[in-house]
Symmetry: C2
Subunit: 356 residues, 2 copies
């Protein structure tokens, strides 16, 4: 796979459909409720109409979660409460349908695909097609990836988005699995937003103060290695990300190219969204923030991206779970715009109609 | 219908099931995720196990919304952006399935019942069984209801809860429809929480400053009439509520007696919950706050009740819509507790197991 031309990608990203947006705003004013009374649902319905290019927007029937899995050398620095082998074990759990993302996908009618980008173990061949390496490098002392690996992973993520859109996906959710992955996420967010160390290093899987100190030191060292390459987003992914991060970044970019709405999940997708936004700022026009995670770097990323999370429920699991919890709100937004009666249809007097 | 003995009702309200709560907490620790990583979903799953008396809690399959409809004489004071006839028109809309509550109920698998308690128009006989009067009184200058009417309406709400639980409802949602109803809601909340006038009077259906001034004056006058009867919750409903409010209050109490969980909606259900809580403080053990409305009195009511809303999406429509938007989050909570694999089942290493 050759490296895609990032400038060409950025140029190919269109705006959401202005005509559908205008039609949705107009229809919201005719529905049997005071204008604005459905609050965020109204905004989301207008967004969805623009992203789907139709008013009312059709139901979301092929929501696809792609879980980008990878191990991170930084886990060897003792930054997580769990050992690295959990990444591969959890892949087994995803494939047998027992993880939180599986449960929530079943509940919301979504489906889950797992992609091994850099798991430090053998995984079933069908999920390892795009695998770049066994574990990304230990970012406090070395690059996560070579330049070539970063480019291949980015291209893989784009190819995956293409596959999913070609297969009919009408909304994409980027999920993540990888012990240690909140550490590169914190580095990317700090590097790309300028946020202070203490405001990006979180508790991840639930670490104690001692482990947090180690994690903060790792983030500090990796940040020092990242700052010199900030002008080159692909090199940022190579230096401080990982193959899973690079692939997710490509996935988010190509979803925008393909005019397919995305609901972002937690801090890993927030970090990748920042990188993708640096490559093509218009890409964020196609993204919603599903939730706000308790990882502090996530709030920093959303703030920089100007995205307001749909729900805020204290989740910090990743996998795509926060996006899936928000999905029914998006479905509710679309359904009200699509199915509610208008004042005329229902024979209901509009606002102030007594004076007319 | 005779007046129920309120002390006897309060005595009949049990706590949620402690054993199921303990079992749910224990199971949460065994599921394949860091403990706490599902945040509010974990808390809600434990709550649900306690309310349903089973761990894991069974799926919610018979969610029933009961919309308590009534007109309010205070609408004649010009406190709403809509004329009173909209109440009856919206009932037609509910019955033909075109209102927001219908759309959201279809989406979440819930069903909707409309009860005319005091609509100022003739409505179909099947929804008017419990009707108490045509429009409740204008509360700035007169009582909303006679004592007898308040008692009958309260008893009707209890009977309705019994009917729904007997028919198999596993979760109840109180909905409201009535032009002018945020005015009595504001009075009840101010009276029962001591909140200041300006912090309970909201924009309702979307009123301008001039109308807001009239509404504030109406709330002030009604509050003056309500304060002397504060020791008598039924008289509070008679003085400043309405037949729809009295019925919803009885409904909330009897749901608790029948050990049936309730998801509250907006400011009207918040106001009724405050009255019901005054009658039987343990009743709130059976309630969740679905959302936080933009009506300022709602936040005051939730604060006093100690309820943390599940979503906060700027809704202010009533009907039960805010509760229905939150319902999928509750379903997600139950499903994760029920369906996720445990560490043992999935062969995943637990936290810190590398050290064991």
């Amino acid at each position: 796979m050759t490296m895609p031309d990032l400038d060409a990608i950025a140029a190919r990203i269109a705006r959401r459909d202005d005509a559908a947006v205008a039609a949705a705003r107009d229809r919201q004013r005719q529905l049997t409720k005071p204008t604005g009374a459905l609050g965020r649902l109204e905004e989301l319905s207008v967004w969805l109409a623009g992203a789907q290019g139709a008013c009312p927007p059709p139901p979301l029937e092929r929501v696809r979660v792609v879980v980008f899995a990878g191990d991170h050398g930084i886990a060897q620095a003792g930054v997580s409460a769990y050992p690295s082998e959990v990444t591969a074990q959890m892949i087994g759990n995803f494939l047998s349908g027992g993880a939180a993302v599986n449960v929530l996908a079943r509940l919301t009618g979504a489906s889950v695909r797992v992609v091994d980008m850099a798991v430090d173990a053998e995984t079933p061949a069908e999920i390892a097609t795009y695998k770049v390496r066994h574990g990304s490098g230990r970012i406090d002392v070395a690059d996560a990836l070579t330049r070539d690996e970063a480019e291949r992973a980015l291209g893989a993520g784009m190819a995956i988005a293409d596959e999913e859109v070609d297969a009919g996906a009408d909304l994409l959710v980027p999920g993540d699995m990888g012990i240690g992955n909140t550490t590169p996420a914190a580095v990317l967010v700090a590097a790309l937003t300028g946020a202070e160390l203490a405001s990006v290093v979180g508790r991840g899987t639930g670490i104690d103060d001692r482990v947090w100190m180690r994690k903060a030191a790792a983030v500090r060292d990796a940040l020092r290695r990242t700052r010199p390459v900030l002008g080159d987003p692909v090199q940022v992914l190579a230096t401080a990300g990982g193959a899973d991060f690079a692939a997710m970044t490509g996935f988010l970019l190509q979803a925008a190219v393909r005019r397919t709405p995305v609901v972002l999940d937690g801090v890993v997708s927030g970090a990748c969204a920042l990188v993708a936004h640096r490559i093509a700022f218009r890409a964020s026009d196609w993204w919603l923030a599903g939730h706000r995670s308790t990882e502090p770097a996530h709030a920093q990323a959303l703030d920089r991206l100007g995205l307001d999370p749909i729900v805020d429920l204290g989740l910090r699991l990743g996998e795509g779970t926060g996006a899936l919890v928000a999905l029914p709100v998006l479905a509710a937004a679309g359904a009200t715009l699509r199915e509610m009666a208008t004042f005329d249809e229902a024979g209901v007097s509009g606002k102030g109609s007594g004076d007319r």
